[in-house]
Point group: C2
Chain length 173, copies 2
């Protein structure tokens, strides 16, 4: 097990899977003859983030975690998506950035302190392995699952396999 | 990074955190003077699992993944909880089982094939590292987040910190 193996491929599998989830959401809207853009403002509760912000958040957790672990400055993306096409591009751009992450630099980060913003003014630190396992991954999956739950609860015909995406190395036993 | 480090402590942190989420749900019900049991049948959609089943599911993903990685037979728990107290006990029992998992046996599983049931009749296999990263962890976080989302969308005053729980080794930078 390496830190790279435990991080970037997880983000890549999940992000690619969510492009498939968006396909099904658009197909569902088309079949029902409504504008798929209507999904983007949906929230599970009035004081929770809407779908658009959930997608931006899981993209940023994937990008920022990978770059921080590599000891690199993560590129900043403006949160200005208002269409499915733009959200797909956000996910694709994130996937493109992940391809540039130096695997060896990530693997060297297990014991290195990672600095993260914590609220508007504070900063916190923790070692790379703890950061990935107990902060970056749970935050990533939190927003990914909530985005899925918003679409699922809105009637899009998706299931666990759409969420998981292409599980590597799985075969009939 | 070891397979044990990447699995059992993640499940332990998250399960302990969810006990705190249940505390806040019960406190909210008490303040509003309704029976907290009412939460247990809530679903995000009529064809999604209710809270009780989501909790049983994330407990089982934690237990089954840890035991499978260790090459051991996971104890089977009946899905018969109908109260908050019983669901707390399910989580606590899962935590107790995780304490018995042999760390060295888990660490030896990275390249070993793990066999999992896949639907009612099929079985699938994949290597231990792939199983943890691309099947067990996403499934665990999927049900954990959905359980959180059910309570959060029902008005319980919980936030990301309640979801994350006690992040190890974090300190002011």
């Amino acid at each position: 097990m390496s830190l790279y193996q435990s991080s970037v491929p997880t983000f890549e599998r999940s992000l690619a899977a969510f492009l498939g989830v968006l396909d099904k959401a658009e197909a569902h809207a088309e079949a029902r003859k409504f504008d798929a853009t209507n999904y983007l403002a949906l929230r599970l509760s009035p004081d929770m983030w809407p779908l658009t912000r959930q997608i931006q958040a899981f993209c940023d957790h994937a990008k920022n975690a990978s770059f921080r672990l590599a000891g690199a400055q993560a590129p900043v993306l403006a949160d200005q998506e208002t269409t499915f096409a733009q959200l797909r591009a956000r996910i694709q751009t994130t996937l493109d950035y992940l391809k540039t992450v130096d695997a060896e630099a990530v693997d060297a980060a297990a014991d290195r302190d990672i600095i993260i913003p914590f609220g508007p003014t504070r900063k916190m630190k923790m070692q790379g392995a703890n950061y990935l396992l107990h902060f970056a991954l749970p935050n990533f999956y939190f927003h990914l699952t909530t985005a899925y739950d918003i679409l699922r609860s809105a009637g899009v015909e998706i299931g666990k396999r759409d969420f998981l995406g292409a599980v590597p190395g799985i075969s009939p036993a």
